[in-house]
Symmetry: C2
Subunit: 738 residues, 2 copies
């Protein structure tokens, strides 16, 4: 890629971004779009215009709002998870800013005043004319400012070597502060005086088969009452309620249809037709075939028919479809915290206990899987992920190799006509590889979510973490490693085949990385300008919302469903940010010019994410920052990759002192270990200190219990709770509640 | 080593063994030796002759007694730890017996009827005359019965290949049964209705620095009272009592001297001297110089002087020498079990909790080390161990290389005169290498114990485990790997230097292992005949006891101290048995003749150990079989080594189907993982199920508390307990006991 196409790419991206920001500024001022741009505010009952009219009138008002919002505002709007995500962005930002402050003023002059590239060119290694050999990278002005322009064994390399140390220690410092901050945040969030149902509950899995004349419910009750005589409150056995759920959803669907039909009926009562037309539909496939019926009447009848069916099914489910898992409730938070961390059974594959997830994020179908099934599923899933990660490389390698147009032209000579036109060539060269990459990456997240769910993980937040982890492997391996390697591979496939050797691969990585800098600069630019522009302007949700409102929505509920926002989508967001972190860290010393791009990416990202958290997204669960250790570990992994690469790159410059960098690797590992030892346990378990905090009020244990009943099994009145419980057990004795 | 020297070695060993057994039979019948041969019985107040007179009269009486003793007898005599050690021996025995039943009848004929060795000899690879080249091993009759006699690519190799599978599955089966058995044993032992102090206590380390006007005792009290309001009983802060201990020991020493002097004085009152002579001694160095004083008077005065000093020191210790660790007592077993498994502080480097060790096995000086110090010490210790393991190889390699007399003669030609005499040659060849090896190994255990203690481990049993682990690494690496490799190294040092390559090393291992079989046969024979003979006859303790009783012992206590038995000494016993396990497993298919030797070793070992447990050794701590997971893991490690070796060895025979063995490696790892997952948690922590069992009586909490007071700080009367506690804290409020 030459300099012109790089500038074109960045400029085009920037123009798209500016246009999208303008679109956002204009659209977000129109009250009709409020549900698209301020759904979180609306849901929390706040007026998006009140008190900030001045702000939103000015095009930078949203920036001022985002900057002035405190962490508490963020937690109130998006929960601790959103706050932790912002801390992640700001941590990476700090690392890059601190690094840049030293690296840019020092390394750019050091590299810029050397002449390695000129010398190579003068020595005839580089042909000066434009018909270049395709294995030779070209050297625009920019590459003069990078490590590549420093001559081998030069003392200038000391500056680069020390920079690696500086970046590493900045990273340690920032990460330590952030981990401490997040840890406190989590402790504060967990010790609020609000009653949270999950803090009183423990998830029990692998309940052993009780004797045939005892229900699982009874055996859970007797087991926990014996072991926790003073603190056990109640248990709820997990049931297989798929059938009840189906009936319940059918009823809900009919109710919605009635509501819609009534609106349509009311609207049809015009002056010309005071009676109105009763809406009808066909009962067959998709409403296209079958008998025509009056919707309101038909649906009411259906509901009448289904209700007793549901009740019968509820009873059957509670009594006969008990699964080998239960949620056990305790009458105090510290009792639950303590029980969730204590080994219960002599044999570990029985009575496994863990902290209960929030009711809204439980994945019911996974609860009853036994411990061996979970292990086997995990192994199988990781094997599939391994295959995916490794064999996705085939198409991506092909794309990145072909993406140099010269290669393309050589392989497909008939393209010459198109490719040789300068304008088309520039645009194609700028976007082709990046777009191919982004399309590839868009296919994956859903698949990874599916795989993570199949592992048998009991909570949504954990599935998101697992999926983000897999995505990270994928992204780093395929985009980062394979792109850089792929280029070299294509150029020197023969050498590889003759010398398949690990040392060689490391050398190759070190050799090919510097050349990839401009590619990644463009990649970062494209991602952040276009990506953030789309994110901020919400063009796609806006269009969908307006289309739906115009053609599909009949009732208020329909409209609400049309604009109801999603959550932040950590499972793709975090790995993508992690990729940029990895790329920018790895190139930070080799081509310091990448740092401003990284700073821009994370600064803009932080600003826009904060805006979206405050105004748009609604969290679908709250894991109290459980994501942080995950992010922390991966930043350290990126740092390790960076340090290993730098050892190789500086070593390749025939610099005698490059082994001075080797101690960085163990230092990073020790740092990670200390952080893990010090902070991680409080993320994996609830410390008693935290669970012991006073509650605002005496907890309403019935409400806590009810929170965990799946909607399709919920009795109509709260008084029916005892009936609900009794349906599960034969004996009806109950422990006294506090 | 040729066949003659092998037979000589085994026969000599066997004769020594028979002599020692006869010595034992004769000596153990003499009542005067009872304290040497039956100390455990005496301590438990049993009469060693009663009811078993007939048995001990017959030379095989002890065998009948050992065979008829049940597991409960063993537990009563030596605790669960001893029972688990016997299970370990019998498990390995079962593995070898089951393997031998199939392998011996199948593999010996298959190997014996082939002709690979003859063919090689006929082809001229092996010179037939006696002046052999020293790199050529000789082929006694025995080696015809091993894998070496099977021709390459022969279909006979299928028998060997399937045998590897048979041995592996026998191992899995036996280990699974044993783990289950030990797990039940542990559960039973832990749920006995006896009150054990350690089950009510939790060890707390890393107590954070309290405010200056608060003692550590107060901060521990307030912290635990807040977190466990209903179950907290009391706390005892660990103090640095080295000074008090010194004074206490001085007083004890003086008391002993008085007792001894009084006996001497009483004995001196003969008829000729009815007054007697008052014993005197000198106060200076070793009683050799200084003033001569009347021992009884002098010591009584010293005690009078020291007592107030001790009291003052006790007070100072309790008040001013509090350390950052404490033992916290709970009023129920399940509360303690639960507390020891629950995370207490938000930050992990504060308030670390774990199960309290037994009072008698606490290592007080290690309790107060903080978590970072522990980590650093561990890393340093492991580094030292690594160095020891790797660089001990230098001398051992030298010994094993020189140990072929031909080499010795070549290097030191003046030895020719001695070495060429057949008798000397045979004896030297038989014993030289083994004795060198055993001397080397004897130097190590004390050093490893010291290192393990320096890691900061709080209990003796854990130190023993850690030390046994290190010893195992050492033994397997140095004795097993290096002996076999060393031989080859000496022969082909040049090849190695030119081709330093991992694949080569594996090949070399596979190549050199078959030749080592006879060495290890002799090694096993020497170890078990001589070692077990000495163990059973207790010649050394017998001599020491009689010498001491004759010349040193004055009082009954002195005599008791002279025969008081040690514990089993797991830290060296287990790794040594593990080495034999590894050796026998690895050679089981290659040279099946080793199996009978292994069976004899473990059968005799089991019998003698059982006898010694029942009659001799007294456990110094009880860890309830905590050693088992350690043994289990190492047996699996030996199995993995065996499987890897067999893949190499059968592969070297140019057998196409040898990759069929590869799946065994993952199967072993999965087996280990499943065992670990299923059984290990109950070894690492106390399951609530177990802690919940009913107690025989209401526990006397004061007695439990007192059990943990170090002897030098113990108040004279039990009523002083409160004074003891109050000395540590400023506030004197106490939680109500149950």
């Amino acid at each position: 890629m030459d300099f012109a196409s790089f500038i074109t790419s960045v400029l085009t991206s920037f123009i798209i971004f500016v246009v999208l920001v303008l679109v956002f500024t204009w659209l977000s001022r129109r009250p009709g779009n409020a549900p698209v741009y301020y759904p979180s505010l609306l849901l929390r009952g706040l007026d998006p215009w009140e008190g900030r009219r001045r702000g939103t009138r000015s095009p930078v008002g949203w920036i001022r709002d985002a900057l002035s919002a405190s962490e508490d505002d963020v937690i109130a709007a998006g929960g601790v998870d959103a706050a932790v995500y912002l801390i992640f962005l700001s941590s990476v930002l700090s690392i890059l800013v601190f690094s840049g402050i030293v690296l840019l003023p020092v390394l750019l002059p050091v590299a810029g005043t050397d002449h390695a590239l000129d010398l190579r060119r003068a020595a005839g290694f580089e042909p000066k004319n434009n018909s270049k050999d395709d294995s030779t990278p070209d050297f625009p002005q920019m590459e003069r400012l990078a490590l590549g322009n420093v001559q081998p064994s030069s003392t200038r390399l000391w500056a680069f070597l020390l920079s690696v140390y500086w970046v590493s220690f900045v990273t340690y410092f920032v990460l330590w502060k952030s981990y401490k901050h997040v840890s406190n945040l989590r402790a504060t969030a967990r010790s609020t005086p609000d009653v949270k149902p999950e803090e009183f509950a423990v998830l029990v899995r692998d309940v052993p088969r009780s004797s045939p004349d005892e229900t699982i419910k009874d055996s859970v009750d007797s087991y926990f009452r014996a072991l926790h005589p003073n603190t056990f409150y109640r248990s709820m056995v997990v049931t297989d309620h798929t059938k009840a759920d189906k009936i319940y959803l059918e009823i809900e669907d009919h109710k919605k249809k009635i509501a819609r039909a009534e609106v349509v009926y009311a609207n049809s009562k015009t002056e010309s037709n005071p009676e109105g037309t009763k809406p009808t539909h066909r009962t067959g496939f998709l409403g296209l075939i079958g008998k025509k019926v009056d919707t309101i009447e038909y649906c009411s009848e259906q509901i009448k028919e289904l209700l007793p069916k549901l009740e019968a099914e509820q009873k059957t489910t509670l009594r006969d479809k008990q699964q080998r898992a239960a949620i056990v409730f305790f009458n105090s938070r510290s009792a639950a915290a303590s029980a969730s961390q204590t080994l219960h059974a002599q044999v570990f594959d029985k009575w496994t206990v863990m902290e209960a997830p929030e009711p809204r994020e439980i994945i019911w179908s996974n609860l009853s899987r036994n411990i061996y099934e979970r292990q086997i599923r995990q192994v199988v899933v990781y094997f599939i992920v391994f295959l995916t990660v490794v064999f996705y490389t085939v198409p991506i390698t092909a794309v990145s190799a072909i993406s140099t147009l010269e290669n393309l032209r050589k392989v497909l000579p008939f393209l010459k006509v198109v490719v040789d036109r300068t304008a088309i060539k520039t645009v194609l060269q700028a976007y082709l590889p990046q777009i191919a990459l982004i399309v590839f990456l868009a296919l994956l997240p859903a698949f990874l979510m599916f795989l993570s769910k199949a592992e048998g993980i009991p909570s949504q937040s954990h599935v998101v973490r697992a999926s983000a982890g897999k995505y990270f492997y994928f992204i780093v391996f395929n985009v980062f490693l394979i792109y850089t390697l792929g280029k070299t591979l294509f150029a020197s496939l023969k050498t590889i085949l003759n010398n398949a050797n690990i040392g060689l691969i490391i050398n190759m990585l070190a050799n090919s990385l510097p050349g990839g800098a401009t590619f990644f600069l463009t990649f970062v630019a494209l991602k952040f300008f276009v990506g953030y522009g789309l994110e901020l302007s919400r063009v796609v949700p806006l269009i969908i919302f307006h289309l739906k409102r115009k053609y599909l929505c009949k009732t208020e509920d329909d409209v609400r469903a049309a604009w109801y926002p999603s959550d932040l989508g950590y499972s793709t967001r975090v790995p993508n940010d992690m990729l940029i972190t990895t790329v920018v860290l790895c190139y930070s010393v080799m081509a310091p010019l990448i740092i401003p791009f990284g700073v821009a990416y994370f600064a803009l990202g932080w600003l826009i994410a904060k805006n979206q958290v405050l105004r748009v997204y609604v969290p679908s669960y709250e894991s109290n920052g459980r994501m942080w250790p995950h992010m922390h570990t991966r930043i350290i992994a990126a740092l390790l990759l960076y340090q290993a690469t730098m050892i190789g790159v500086i070593g390749l410059k025939k610099f005698l002192y490059s082994p001075i960098l080797v101690p960085l690797l163990p230092i990073s590992i020790i740092f990670a270990y200390i952080c893990h030892m010090r902070f991680y346990p409080a993320f994996a378990n609830t410390p008693l200190e935290v669970a012991q905090h006073e509650l605002k009020e005496t907890p309403n244990m019935d409400a806590i219990y009810t929170a965990y009943i799946p909607p399709c099994l919920k009795p109509d009145k709260l008084e029916d709770l005892d009936v609900y419980e009794d349906a599960q057990s034969h004996s009806t004795s109950r422990a006294p509640s506090i």
